[in-house]
Symmetry: C2
Subunit: 337 residues, 2 copies
Amino acid sequence: MEDNYKKEQTVTFIKPPVIIGRYSLVGKKEGQGNLKGYFDKVLEDDKFGEDTFEKSERKIMETIVFKSIDNANLTPSKIDMFLSGDLLNQIITSSFTARDFNTTFVGLYGACSTMAESLALASCLIDGGYFKNIACATSSHFSSAERQYRNPLELASQRSVVSQWTVTGGGCTILANKGKGHKITSATFGKVTDYGIKDTDNMGAAMAPAAMNTLVTHFRNTKTKPEDYDQIFTGDLGKLGKNILIDLMLEKGYSLEKNYSDCGHMIFKDNQQAYQGGSGCGCSASVLNSYIYSKLDEGTFKKVLFVATGALLSTISGQQGESIPSIAHAVVIQKGD
Amino acid sequence: MEDNYKKEQTVTFIKPPVIIGRYSLVGKKEGQGNLKGYFDKVLEDDKFGEDTFEKSERKIMETIVFKSIDNANLTPSKIDMFLSGDLLNQIITSSFTARDFNTTFVGLYGACSTMAESLALASCLIDGGYFKNIACATSSHFSSAERQYRNPLELASQRSVVSQWTVTGGGCTILANKGKGHKITSATFGKVTDYGIKDTDNMGAAMAPAAMNTLVTHFRNTKTKPEDYDQIFTGDLGKLGKNILIDLMLEKGYSLEKNYSDCGHMIFKDNQQAYQGGSGCGCSASVLNSYIYSKLDEGTFKKVLFVATGALLSTISGQQGESIPSIAHAVVIQKGD
């Protein structure tokens, strides 16, 4: 496995892109969890006044995108590109949001790794001088994800003990080539990793090896260790996946015991019946765009490693007996002046 | 509509990325069409020896990716990034191909615009010095697309007269920061355009306005006219969509009469019962990586404008009464020395 890590995976930015705007929105359940008080908006009703869950999810994305542009003191016409993806088939949440947004659209699919995927790509495009302001967004919705990936809520299917709860919510970050704010100083693009997990309920176990691969690659390429970061966050491994990652990293000689959190593990309280914790693109996106940036604002953190993880399965691939390929992309975020 | 075109949409490359490898593969029907003899491989059996259409599609993508790397005289370990997307839910064709490919993976979703989306993004990433060699790929499969988007083949459903035939096939281009080959000299990233078409069979009509928007933006930003290109290719508008685009462009003051072709219109013969012509990510990808590059090799073309178009709908969005948001991304390809 030694030669599995490539130095070309990591990019260090010469003119680090600046986070000039952000917005987070979550559903009612998420708003009652551990991170209560950090989110910009908490929905009272997960349908958000719409008649379908898919339309609610779209309204979530529209809200986070346009509110984060406001937060950056920009108008939508100043955004050069919208880099977005989501969990719904053909990423309709992103595409339909892009329809009402007079800017170029680059649709991504990285499952729950999308927040980091979009930030890493946007950082290259801004650092390289191709675009000035890019909106990076992703979202998910518990009820649209349940009926697409598992069962409609009406069936009241019993959940597996290893399952996670798809977060209703999302987050958008506006990256720019200038301005004041925290900065993205480097990115490590991930590879698809598959340790043969076939239990589609147990995505934490499927994604942990991908997070390990990206973390080890990042540490080697940047000649850093876990203790060089104030906090390391993975996206949505959940409680079980987090513990697997800690073990996998120990085998590689890295201890994550002191300064590692998982957004999926953090977002819900133990008594909220979210099983292993939160998942979905909106999980790490809403935590990044609320809690993590707030802690950088306060100065509690000065340097954060954000590693969003994605399980790249589909209902068809599961039904055809395939295991779950997973990926993780990482970005380093440093406190702005 | 005048202010709808933004100069920021177009990027001109200072160190234009070089096309150092390519490979095209199509199914039996496509291999009997107008472009017979141009493709690198034509399947005898659309199942490609696999037991499901989805696995066949994956084998198509694996084949085009690894054969194009051979064609570039590289080994897979020399590829820094795999930029790919496809039509299957959660782009499993791309993700599962990435699993067996020891390189970073950035998953895209641009429906049938994916070939141009990947080339435009990869060109920025190479021109900017972030990566040296990037594999850009996409594919589609008639039978997996039919059962996902419309009906399983077993139902033998009657097709609409305005429908198109999803191409079984794909294409992969290896872009590099050096070497010999044709070059990508500029790219225009598209915006989502929606003229309210709700007939999910009539994707040519839905996508034509997106192609118009990107073409007009490209011509304005680069101060060029249609006659400055030897040939302009759209992705998969088909016969009807192509005629709509010609009309829309005339209204904007541009005549496409002399040097414009559509890959979807070209690929099948009139007597092949493909209705308005080919569609699917694999349509423009297989035509670009065979016929178009061959004509550049020969010197028949010296400068080509390649505009791949995508219809960003899903089965759910159609069922919920939505119209079809569409997009088109453009790249300029110039003959190498």
